[in-house]
Amino acid sequence: MKQLNHVRNLVMATAAVLLTACSATPDLEPDAKEPRLAHPDTSQMDPRGIGYVDNDPWEGFNRRMYYFNAKADEYVLLPAVSGYEYITPEIMQTGVNNFFSNLGEVSTFLNSLFQLKGERAVTTAFRFVTNSTIGIFGLFDPATAMGVYKEREDFGQTLGYWGVGDGPYLVLPFLGPSSARDGFGLLVDSLVYNELIDEMGLKSEEEFALFLLRSINARKQIPFRYYATGSAFEYELIRFLYFRARTLQIQR
């Protein structure tokens, strides 16, 4: 994990510089003309609207990252997922997903506690213990079969629960849509996850293999494909939906 942490720190430092350095405003030619259709007054605009931009001061950086992610998806992630699906029997793919999902319960458990959601903490702990034992290290998910369903709580949600606002929209490399708050939350959650991995006492190559497998599995679980609808406003729609979805998740 050490090397990965270094890479991550480097990426974050670069990102901090890029966040404010890139522009998304049009670089207009001398003979360019203002669009004929007037821009409606947006000063009173609902911040939850699709075209709302004030929540996106880092748009220049975000759009570049969005483009990078779309390309990374096309050339790296999706081919990796296809290769993985080709060589791995389906029952193993399910096992892999269950395994990482089970590790994720720890974060859900902690964040449920942080939000004083006692019942959720208990059911999550039950799931983790059941699936780690009867479910053989989380490869199977007997807890769901018993009617104890998975919930998700992350540190971004915890912060949101205690009233911390989303902050600016933030598109993370490979991971996609996030916000200043949720990006920070992800960092905290990944510290917890790394502690868990350290507990396993793996060699660094094994940790790296696990990291790759986790990444491929995570991508596999998301049906989203960049520009599948062909809409030029996909960036706006995803931004809109991200904030909406997070509001719902925090509310739950």
Binding site: P26, A32, P35, A70, G230, S231
Partner: protein
């Protein structure tokens, strides 16, 4: 058993001189409310059994090699289409998507599966109103004028077919040609069929219009009206209110699953009403028109919602174009885009004449007399204005059939619907 008898009877009936339209007695579609039908489509229990695994490929083809794609459309590398193939000689159906629809939309895929199961090859064509068609395949880049659209679709059909045959070789062997399209694609099918009578490239055996609009102007007035009736602010309030109520239910649900059934349940519990559903339909339509208007504006350098004479970088914010574009709809596009464009080409064309040309009324004689063309719609289709349903019934006679409910294209994968549709195509074999 009853089903088999019915289909058998239909086939026998069709073998006679006149073609009898399919009977609809067995039809069971659960939504009597056209808005719910349009939004949710067919619930799982009522769906036709269709194969998941079919012979299908997606291809991209360069239709306008002399044209350079603008940077902002970097993701439209070429014209995309799909082909379904039988690996033996079989008839081929060209299928045209509805407004803003792509070749791989849900309804298009459902049609592909139904046709594959019944032994057809299929080529699915994206609507000329979709950005991919406008950017990569259209010469005029001013969609909506049905006869002109038909010419471009006809070219695209020939090119995609040649391309697919080249790619698939023996796997795609075509005996005869058929044509269908839903919604706007239905109206397009009628005009493509008419063009084919003159050019005879395909000599279609059968053509089926699915939930076609009669008058684009009437239909667009209805759909734009759902938004205009409440205004932008009203629409925003509705969307917020639905999100809040549905969200409230989701936060109290025992288990959250992102399945259609779960979401349907959440909407029902949130007591979303018809007025709100109509606005959601209007919103979806508005998003389609915004995409279309943006694509036209960029490709033609019109300077309506984008800066004129400006090269849009792929990292540039286009949110301002979204806000401008979504403040208008298809009607404004018609009045301020299409009418001036075509009047410039032919000053004698009046606005009223344009409205007539954008309708099936323009083809009335052809549709009345051409025995190969059929039509299927629903009595409660929301895109049909006052006299439209009667026009369809009068024009197609017993080559048209109408289900009592199903809204706009909501029943396209319902069991009886699929059987009847396939029986129509089979009746020419």
């Amino acid at each position: 058993m009853k089903r088999i008898l019915l289909v058998g009877a239909l086939l026998l009936g069709a073998a006679g001189t006149a073609q009898s339209a399919p009977a609809t007695q067995d039809y069971q579609f659960p939504f009597s409310d056209p808005f719910k039908a349009t939004v949710f489509g067919t619930p799982a229990d009522f769906k036709a059994e269709l194969p998941d695994d079919i012979n299908r490929k997606e291809f991209t083809i360069d239709i306008l090699p002399q044209q350079e794609t603008p940077e902002v459309f970097w993701f439209h590398e070429g014209f995309e289409y799909s082909v379904v193939y039988q690996e033996k000689p079989a008839p081929l159906v060209f299928s045209i998507a509805g407004t803003g629809g792509k070749y791989n939309g849900g309804k298009m895929i459902a049609l592909e599966k139904a046709f594959f199961k019944a032994g057809y090859n299929v080529i699915s064509i994206t609507s000329p109103t979709h950005a991919n068609f406008i950017v990569t395949a259209s010469d005029d880049k001013m969609p909506g004028y049905l006869a002109k659209d038909a010419e471009e679709i006809y070219k695209v059909m020939q090119k995609t077919l040649a391309h697919a045959q080249d790619k698939l070789g023996d796997k795609l062997q075509v005996t005869d040609y058929y044509l269908t399209g839903y919604s706007l694609g239905g109206a397009h099918s009628a005009f493509v069929s008419k063009l084919d009578e003159e050019q005879k490239v395909f000599d279609f055996k059968k053509v089926l219009l699915v939930n076609p609009p009669v008058s684009l102007y009437n239909s667009v007035t209805i759909l734009d009206g759902y938004v205009e009736a409440v205004g932008q602010d009203g629409l925003r309030n509705t969307v917020n209110s639905i999100f809040e109520r549905v969200g409230d239910n989701i936060s109290h649900a025992t288990r959250v699953e992102l399945t259609p059934e779960f979401l349907y349940q959440m909407f029902i519990e949130a007591k979303v009403n018809d007025h709100e559903y109509s606005q959601l339909i209007g919103l979806a339509f508005r998003l389609s028109s915004t995409d279309m208007i943006f694509a036209i504006d960029v490709m033609r350098n019109l300077g309506a919602v984008t800066y004129k004479n400006h090269h849009i970088s792929k990292f540039e914010s286009t949110s301002h174009s979204f806000i401008r574009g979504s403040s208008i709809g298809f009607l404004t596009y018609f009045e301020r885009g299409m009418v001036p464009f075509y009047q410039e080409q032919d000053a004698s064309v009046t606005r009223a004449e344009m409205i007539k040309r954008l309708s099936l009324v323009d083809l009335e004689e052809y549709l009345k007399t051409s025995s190969k063309i059929g039509m299927v719609t629903n009595a409660d289709d929301i895109i049909l204005a006052g006299p439209d349903l009667k026009f369809l019934q009068d024009t197609f006679g017993d080559r048209g059939w109408v289900y009592p409910n199903g809204g706009h294209c909501g029943n396209m994968d319902e069991k009886v619907w699929v059987d009847d549709m396939l029986a129509f195509f089979a009746s020419s074999k």
